[in-house]
């Protein structure tokens, strides 16, 4: 028997909303799955297609980009741009054969600790059902690689 599949999920979280919401979830002692690895970004609009691809290339099973609520972006419309990029990248993931549904865009505010935990749970369950990233075991050991490459890329 194979051991139960534990998905690795990379969440690109905007510093001004989702990242703070994650903090709040922590201080409220809300449980959310340890599968979600957070990469803090200055704005969801900073996340590019290449960062998302590198996460999958590193073995992530799912990725989501978490930005501010519509109209609340600190940089005016970074979250709107992020959403468009996510749509584009989903199509690309479909072409590559990874599957577009492994990528999502979510919006929340800094005060939504509860919602942050809920999103983390929902997406983890969804990815668990989808099963592993088809190239997961064909690359480097996952988790660290997924987060590391994403971070390196984001910093570039």
């Amino acid at each position: 028997m194979m051991e139960e599949f534990e998905p690795v999920i990379v969440a690109f979280c905007c510093h001004f909303c989702a990242y703070t919401a994650a903090d709040m979830a922590g201080s409220l002692r809300l449980c959310y799955p340890a599968n979600v690895k957070i990469v803090r970004v200055p704005c969801s609009g900073k996340v590019d297609t290449i960062h998302i691809l590198k996460a999958f290339e590193g073995g992530a099973d799912g990725v989501y980009v978490a930005g501010c609520l519509e109209g609340d972006c600190h940089f005016k419309n970074g979250n709107v741009r992020a959403a468009k990029r996510v749509t584009y990248t989903r199509k690309l993931l479909e072409d590559i054969g990874i599957g577009g549904q492994r990528l999502e865009m979510v919006n929340l505010s800094a005060g939504m600790g509860e919602r942050f935990a809920e999103i983390a749970r929902q997406i983890t369950e969804k990815i668990r059902k989808l099963g592993p990233n088809p190239i997961r075991n064909l690359t480097r050991p996952v988790t660290e690689a997924a987060v590391q490459t994403s971070k390196e890329q984001t910093l570039q």
């Binding site: 290449i50 691809l53 999958f56 290339e57 072409d95 590559i96 054969g97 990874i98 064909l138």
Partner: protein
Amino acid sequence: MITAERKPLEEIIEYIRPFQKILLVGCNECVTVCAAGGRKEVGILSASLQMSLLKQGKNLQIREHTLERQCDPEYVEELTPMIDGVDAVLSMACGCGVQEMSRRFKDKPVFPAVNTKFMGASERQGVWAERCQGCGDCLLGITGGICPIARCSKQLMNGPCGGSTTGKCEISPDVDCAWQLIWDRLKALGLEDRYERIIPAKDWRPGRGAGPRKIIREDLAE
């Protein structure tokens, strides 16, 4: 600029399928500006190809490199130290860049990763539109600065045809009627009289008419 769009992934994969190691080359000029083949797109294509082939059980080795200008022999020379280590070259430059690679590296297969589209300008973020067809004998001085060759669907030099409707071309409501634009411009400039002059049939020799074109500047050529 020369605009381009990435080819479908499937088509690119078919080109490189027989090879183990490829050199993926971007260009820092036009294709960077139109987000088709610059450093960033090289990274995206590289990751996409690697993942897609990995899924099919193949570990493709890709070396990424983006040149300052792929249509210029000086810059292409940069690739010389890398070329022996690869089986094939995949170029993300326009057709000019791809052909410069073929010319320089005679024993390496070179494949295009983009479709070169047209000479155009950026209308707004993420939107590029055709502006020039390189006819070799510019008419813009007599058409209010708007080109009927590149922008009229029927290439009418004495338009507009009977299909112009509320400023749009009959082929699509997304296409402006070039002659409406020309007329509006002529009016704005007080040059309505110019419309009445018949533009004579064009000599296409400076365009493609006389075969492949070449410019030789005697003062510069070696």
